[in-house]
Amino acid sequence: MTNVPSDLRYAKSHEWVRVSGDTAVVGITDHAQHELTDVVFVELPQANRVVKAGEACAVVESVKTASDIYSPVSGTIIEVNSAVANNPSLVNTDPYGSGWFYKIKLSAASEAAALLDPAAYGAQIHG
């Protein structure tokens, strides 16, 4: 059974969002890292890039595949996690902590509330 923390919101495409005021931190879920297995490379967006919800803005690669990561929310990238770029295995070992991808200043606060809650995401991956 994979971990679905209760304080996060989730996209169907397996990203999580931790909202704090008008900013949010984005990463990929425990289920996603488990499906990918060994993450060997993470490509992050440039800081100051403006992204729309649903837009591909990062890439995560395992030995065998490259997968796009879609921003669950719209806004401006204000910080990226250089630690995960230097040590991609953080995505596997700590997907909700040190394996985060980027911080974003939200341009539409209502988007995050419309994402899946933990129960709905849990049902999607375990259903």
């Binding site: 297995t37 060994d38 060997v40 490379f41 490509e43 890439v59 690669e61 395992s62 030995v63 065998k64 490259a66």
Partner: protein, 373 residues
């Protein structure tokens, strides 16, 4: 509808992740490609290769036929020996790469790629028809037989205990030798060979025996850390030792010499299919060659079909990556690509285009990895 080997349900029970490969639904990994790769490099792993094809060639005319059909010299083989070889069309293009084993005075077993079984057997049958008048029989045994591959340095420590009786202890075979053994009353073949760059054995058995054979090997190897390994690790393992994979390094427009496999072409044995093209390449040199490269800066791993560029002010598109991966042993991006001969030398700088950006790479000597001897 994808084909499944006799081990399909075993893979499901092991929790394998299954993918399409050459028309077959095969396990790409059981736990992780990295773990399975390291397991084979340091201990042992067991692969299902029952998707591969088997063709028997029998009769007093077999050796002469095979020397016309294949590039290597069949007369080098004593009974119970095998060799890597290539089957080419009349222009020297590779129809398939394969292993041929001599399992009787006039009996040979060919192990061919899964994706090429139909093409191969049609070609072999057509070529055999030209040898009418000599005692020769060819038979496609791909459904009747299957194979599993036990690979890794620990393999030799427990291979002998995997059978009910053996003709020769498999652990005493030298590379490319083959012997017969029994599981119950049934005959299986055990060859000291493989495609991972490690010591190991391939076991060819009647299809119905594959599941019990698989179980037997895992039981015998359990205390040595031997577990199932998937095609994902098989691909990273063979890429590190620069072994070609049909459809990547090899196709019908590529000759063995261009692929860097001239060692397996015997020019002194007489005539064989594709000889004229290859002899001309031997005397004038090839125009392009399959080269190995490594990424020299931090980048995503190179992957098949990524564009390959020359460097400098008039950088030109040279071709594409044919095999590419992160090397689990070296922790760097590695790959192979066809380059004009002047650029195929170690030290040449090239660039690999990954998602629209070019990253530096360097041609290196093959292979990337060599097992300690």
């Amino acid at each position: 509808m994808l084909q499944r080997t006799e081990l399909f349900e075993v893979h499901q029970a092991h929790g394998a992740r299954l993918v399409e490969f050459g028309g077959w639904e095969m396990p790409v990994q059981y736990t992780s490609i990295m773990e399975e790769h390291q397991m084979v490099r340091t201990k042992a792993g067991l692969f299902d290769i029952a998707h591969m094809g088997e063709v028997a060639v029998r009769g007093a005319g077999s050796a002469a036929f095979l020397n016309q059909l294949l590039t290597n010299n069949i007369h080098k083989l004593s009974v119970w020996e095998g060799q890597y070889t290539l089957m080419c069309n009349d222009l020297g293009g590779v129809i398939d790469d394969l292993y041929v084993y001599r399992i009787g005075e006039h009996e040979y077993l060919l192990i061919v790629n899964a994706s090429r079984v139909e093409v191969d057997f049609a070609w072999i049958s057509q070529e055999a028809a030209r040898h009418r008048g000599t005692p020769l029989e060819v038979e496609n045994l791909s459904n009747a037989l299957g194979a599993i591959a036990l690979q890794g340095p620990a393999s030799q420590a427990f291979i002998d205990g995997c059978f009910d009786s053996v003709t020769t202890q498999p652990s005493t075979l030298v590379k490319n030798q083959i012997t017969s053994a029994k599981l119950g009353d049934e005959t299986v073949y055990v060859a000291r060979t493989g495609y991972t760059g490690e010591d190991g054995f391939e076991i060819v058995a009647p299809s119905a025996l594959l599941a019990p054979m698989w179980k037997r090997v895992l039981e015998a190897g359990a205390s040595y850390g031997c577990k199932p390994a998937g095609l994902g690790a098989r691909d990273t393992l063979r890429t590190e030792v620069c072994y070609p994979l049909y459809g990547h390094e090899l196709d019908e427009t590529t000759t063995p010499l261009e692929a860097g496999l001239g060692y397996f072409v015997s020019f002194d044995k007489g005539g064989f299919n594709g000889r004229d093209t290859m002899a001309a390449q031997l005397s004038h040199g090839v125009l392009r060659r399959c080269a190995a490269f490594k990424m020299t800066d931090k980048s995503a791993p190179p992957r098949p079909h990524y564009p390959v560029w020359s460097v400098g002010p008039d950088a030109a598109l040279l071709g594409e990556v044919v095999s590419g991966t992160l090397s689990p042993t070296l922790s760097m991006g590695i790959g192979m690509t066809y380059l004009p001969i002047a650029l195929a030398q170690p030290g040449t700088k090239i660039e690999i285009e990954i998602r629209g950006r070019r990253f530096p790479a360097e041609v290196v000597k093959k292979p990337f990895y060599r097992k300690a001897s």
